[in-house]
Structure formats: C-alpha cells, structure tokens
C-alpha cells in the first residue's frame, strides 16, 4: 500500500483546503495551474506588509533595510532551493516573462539572423512557443520543433533523422516537465547534445521545480525559467535562473530604475546581474512569500513531495484507467512522468464530453480541474484533440479526492450518455 500520509499531515497548513464549494468539500485538482498556499506563506507576506513594508535598495531608512533584507533573503532561499547562486536568480513577473526575457536577450546576444535555427517542441506551453516565434519573426531565424511519439514522449529518433540539432542550431528551449502530458523530458542528455553543436539551452521548468525539486546547475541548461505561484508561493513573481557568466554577457531587457549604473540623457551603463534585468520596483512582498514557500517545501522535504506526487499520480492513473470511455493523453505509466494527467472522456455514443461541460459537472461537486487546451494548442492539434481535461495534484492531494474525481467522471459520462439525465 503506497504511503499517502504526507497529504493528511500538511492539509491543516492550507486554509483553503477546508472550504466547501457548492456544498461539497473542495477537491482541488488544479495544482499544475496554480498551487494553493500554506499558512506560512500567507503569514510571511501579511507580516511583511504590516510591519516591514518599504521599497528596496533605494530606500536607505530602517524599513528600507528590512525590506531589502526580506527581498534579497527570498532570492537567496530560491537560489539554494534550485541549486544556484543568489546573483544568478532574476526575479520576473512570471515564467512567461522569464522566457520572454531569455528570448529577447539571447537573440540580441547571439546576433540571431537568417540561417540560424531555434528548436522547441510540439509539447510546449504557449509561453515557450510565442516568445521564440516573435524572436524568429524579428530576426529572420527559423523555428523548428521536436515532434512527439504516440505515447507522449519527445520523438528523439525522428529528431535525429531530421538533423534537428545541427551547426545552425543556436537556441534549444524545452519543457522540463510537460504541463499537459506530464512527460519528464531527458533534459540533461538533450542539453549535452545541444551544447555539442554550440547551442544555448533554455528550460521551461514551471512544472518541474514544484514537483521534482531540481538542481539547475546539474541540469546542464544555461537558462531556466519557473514561477512562484505553482510552488506554493504567490502570483506576481517568476524566476529566470542563468549561469552567471552568461547572464553577465546578456543585454538588458526592460529599461528603468535599479537596472542601471549611470544614466545620461544619451545613454546608460547597466548594473550587473541580476539587477540589470529587474527594472523598476520588483515584486518585493512576493519574494518574501516565495522565500517562505521554499522554506516550507524544504521543511517538508522535496524527496517526500516527489514521492507523494509519484504515489498519488500512480493511484490516479490506475483509478482513471478504470473509467470506461476515458483516454489518458501522454504516458500511462509512472516512468519519467510528472503529476499532470490530461484525458478525454467519451459518452456512450462515442462522442467526447467536451472538457468545459465536464469541468462544469465536476465543479458542481466541488472538484476543481482544468478544461481546455491548457495553453498548449499545438500539442492538442498534434494529438487530434480540440481540448482535454486535466487533473493535477500536489503534496496535499489525497486518494479520496481522486476517488471523488473518478466517481464524478462516471456520473458525467452517464449524464451525457442520456442515462442519468434529470429533467
């Protein structure tokens, strides 16, 4: 019997998990979208706001010092959490902004132009597609991508046959863990192969950092983007980690206060990283909250978080596979697989119950899932689906919530099959 005790141990720490939705206890299965927040994070932000609020760096008074200590303390905690150095942690608004920062500055630094190639994959989130499309439009570079196999893995053989990595490849940007399929990509191996042809490697680790616990330095990547709110932290803060020697060479992204050394009206010189990339007042309270979030996860132990995620995902895969008419998109076994499970559900006549309809029925039973294309339309097109429904757990997810999901899916399928319809 797998051990699910972590969920019961941590649930009291998450106030929202004790609320009801539509007269039912909330079953929050949308953590790949955003995670819920423990009391420690809420309290840290509340206390900072109440007692230590000031602007950072530029405010020289006592509160300014406390605010700076809180903000930079958050940076140091995040750095330690992912195996980087504090000066390698750039705070952004979210993972999307981190990836846009990467695309803009790398494009300029590498003097990307016609003939150059940027490689992504068909399983990327829109935020790891659109910035590279825009970069290629600006520079005339060519965007290429990995296809996937039928079981939802990167098609490495096809990439090899097509010469996807070659001397023209300048940037490779890939999801560490798919937000739809749950697939964990072999990023260490791919980073090594990309480096072998001289490319710079960017990873979208938005799903990996919360679930796996990562070592950015050991990943072999040059830049790694992730976000705070999927990591028990608040919204409004994302992270771009970069190898310091690369960050040092990158030009600024956004211009403004705190990112400069000397400004004249004609030109400016720029601060060293990470300040160079943090124009304007940064997400100060959010950095304090994110610091508390990684402290909380470290206190629990990322190994336990990972083990629980694996156990609950295995349970959900098995439970969902038993629902007639349900098809899981992506790997159905727990090998190199994260916690997001996307699926479609067919009614008796063989037509899929649309994810929006499904989501509505689940919500009426207090079960929160995501229905849609999960910001991965090219992937859904590749899979021949308009949309799917996604359930995603985290350290607080219980097998009981998975059971309720499975039962509600059966009910909804029967409703749309005309079996359980109420007039």
């Amino acid at each position: 019997m797998p051990d699910f005790s972590l969920a019961d141990a941590v649930r009291p720490d998450f106030p929202v998990l004790s609320r009801e939705v539509g007269g039912h206890p909330l079953a929050y299965l949308d953590s790949a979208n955003t995670s819920q927040k423990p009391r420690a994070v809420i309290d840290a932000m509340s206390e900072f706001t109440a007692l230590h609020n000031a602007n950072v760096a530029r405010a020289m008074h006592t509160l300014g010092g406390e605010a700076t200590a809180g903000f930079e303390g958050g940076r140091a905690k995040v750095a330690a959490f992912v195996g980087g150095r504090p000066e390698e942690i750039v705070f952004t608004k979210n993972a999307s902004e981190a990836l846009n920062l990467a695309a803009h500055t790398l494009g300029q630094h590498l003097r990307l132009g016609p003939g150059d190639e940027v490689v992504i994959s068909v399983m990327e989130h829109h935020s790891n597609i659109v910035p590279w499309q825009l970069l290629c439009e600006r520079t005339g570079a060519t965007l290429r991508w990995f296809d996937i196999t039928d079981d939802g893995r990167l098609d490495l053989a096809r990439a090899e046959a097509e010469g996807l990595f070659n001397e023209r490849t300048r940037i490779v940007s890939l999801a560490w863990v798919s937000n739809v399929l749950g697939t964990v990509n072999p990023v260490v191996e791919l980073a090594a192969r990309a480096h072998a042809v001289g490319a710079t490697v960017v990873l979208d680790a938005a799903q990996a950092v919360p679930q796996l616990g990562v070592d950015v330095a050991a990943s072999g990547a040059d830049l790694v983007a992730f976000t705070g709110h999927k990591l028990l932290g608040p919204t409004g803060i994302g992270v771009l980690w970069g190898r310091y020697d690369l960050l040092e060479q990158l030009p600024p992204f956004l211009g403004g206060g705190e990112m400069i050394e000397i400004v004249t009206l004609e030109r400016s010189t720029y601060a060293p990283p990470p300040a160079r990339f943090e124009a304007g007042t940064p997400p100060i309270i959010q950095a304090v909250g994110l610091g508390a979030a990684v402290d909380y996860l470290t206190g629990v132990g990322m190994e336990r978080v990972r083990d629980h995620e694996a156990a609950i995902t295995a349970y959900a895969l098995e439970r969902l596979a038993s629902v007639e008419g349900l098809t899981i998109l992506g790997p159905t076994e727990l090998v190199d697989r994260g916690g997001a499970i996307s699926f479609t559900l067919a009614a008796a006549d063989g037509t899929d119950v649309h994810p929006h309809d499904l989501m509505q029925f689940l919500d009426a039973r207090g079960i929160a899932v995501r229905g849609g294309h999960h910001c991965a339309r090219p992937l859904h097109k590749r899979l021949g689906r308009v949309a799917s429904t996604r359930a995603s757990g985290y350290l607080y997810t219980t097998p009981d919530e998975i059971d309720r999901l499975a039962e509600a899916l059966v009910y909804t399928r029967d409703f749309f099959s005309g079996v359980a319809r109420v007039r």
């Binding site: 829109h126 309809d357 509505q360 009426a364 849609g372 910001c375 409703f415 109420v422």
Partner: protein, 166 residues
C-alpha cells in the same frame, strides 16, 4: 441552480442534433471565431437576400453550450429580416450578460430561453455567445462587402481574434 438544471434538455437536444449545420453556398461572408481559452471554433457563412437572412451555415467544434447556442441561433435568424435578427441577437446577449437577473422573453428567444441558466455561470457566457458573435460579424461584413446583396458570391475569409490565453 444545479448543473443538471443548467444543462436543459433543449440544450442537449440541439447539441446532439445541430440545426442547419454544415457549410453551404452561396454566401457573402465567411468568418472564423475562436474561444481562445478552450480552442472552441466556429467557421460560419452568411447568405443575405436583400434585407433578409437567407441562410446561415457553419462548421463548429466545441462544448455543448457553444454548439447548442449556435444551433438555436440559426433557427432564430434564418428567414428573418436582418434588423429583426439583430434585435434578437441583442436580446439574447442582454440575457446572457444579465448574470441571471434578466429573464428573457420566450416569445422572442424561443429555444434560446433555455440558456437563461447559463448566464449564472460567467465563465460559460462566452461559450453561448460564440456563434452569435460570429453571425453578427459575418452579417456586418456581408452588408459592407455587398452593397447590392446577391450580386456576387464573394468569399471573405477573415481569421479574427486567434489569440491564445497564457
């Protein structure tokens, strides 16, 4: 309101058997409207005959609400004068944006009245309006492109808002 009440039999019937589905000729305007959050999509053609909506044909994928609403819309506008049909569209939109407080007139909205409950679910309102907004757009384009309707069968494929959520 329970979810079962929201999903009225009328809605499910239209969803299972969509009226006027499929793409037909002739037409003066063709539009493609998308719900960026879920990828629901409707490709819709309008054929005008003078000041009358002669035909509305479409190819659509999406949830039961968007599909049924599009089906009901075609019942309501085909054969009507454009001004009348636009007034029905406005009445339907008013009900859908009413957050459940606008009852809607069954004499005007006919099967469309079944969507009154959907108006209480803000996230689903745009599902119900997808086909309607496509029809209004296509009709406006048809009127603009053909000062003398019926004179030509010009195709005006317009890929409208295809932005994605993030």
């Amino acid at each position: 309101m329970s979810v079962e009440q929201m999903y009225q039999e009328i809605i499910l019937d239209h969803y299972k058997e969509k009226h006027h589905a499929g793409l037909r000729n002739p037409f003066e305007a063709e539009v493609n409207h998308v719900n960026p959050s879920c990828g629901d999509e409707v490709l819709l053609r309008v054929h005008l005959d003078g000041d009358t909506v002669a035909d509305v044909s479409y190819d659509a994928v999406g949830c039961s609400i968007s599909q049924a609403a599009t089906s009901v819309m075609t019942d309501l506008v085909i054969g009507r004068r454009i001004t009348e049909a636009m007034a029905i569209a406005a009445a339907f939109a008013e009900m859908m944006h009413g957050q459940g407080r606008v009852a809607g007139d069954e004499d005007v909205l006919e099967d469309g009245i079944a969507f009154a409950g959907v108006a209480q679910f803000p996230a689903r309102v745009k599902c119900a309006l997808l086909g309607w907004s496509a029809w209004k757009d296509a009709t406006t384009q048809a009127l603009a492109s053909t000062p003398t309707p019926q004179s030509t069968d010009t195709t005006d494929p317009t890929d409208t808002t295809d932005k994605e959520d993030s």
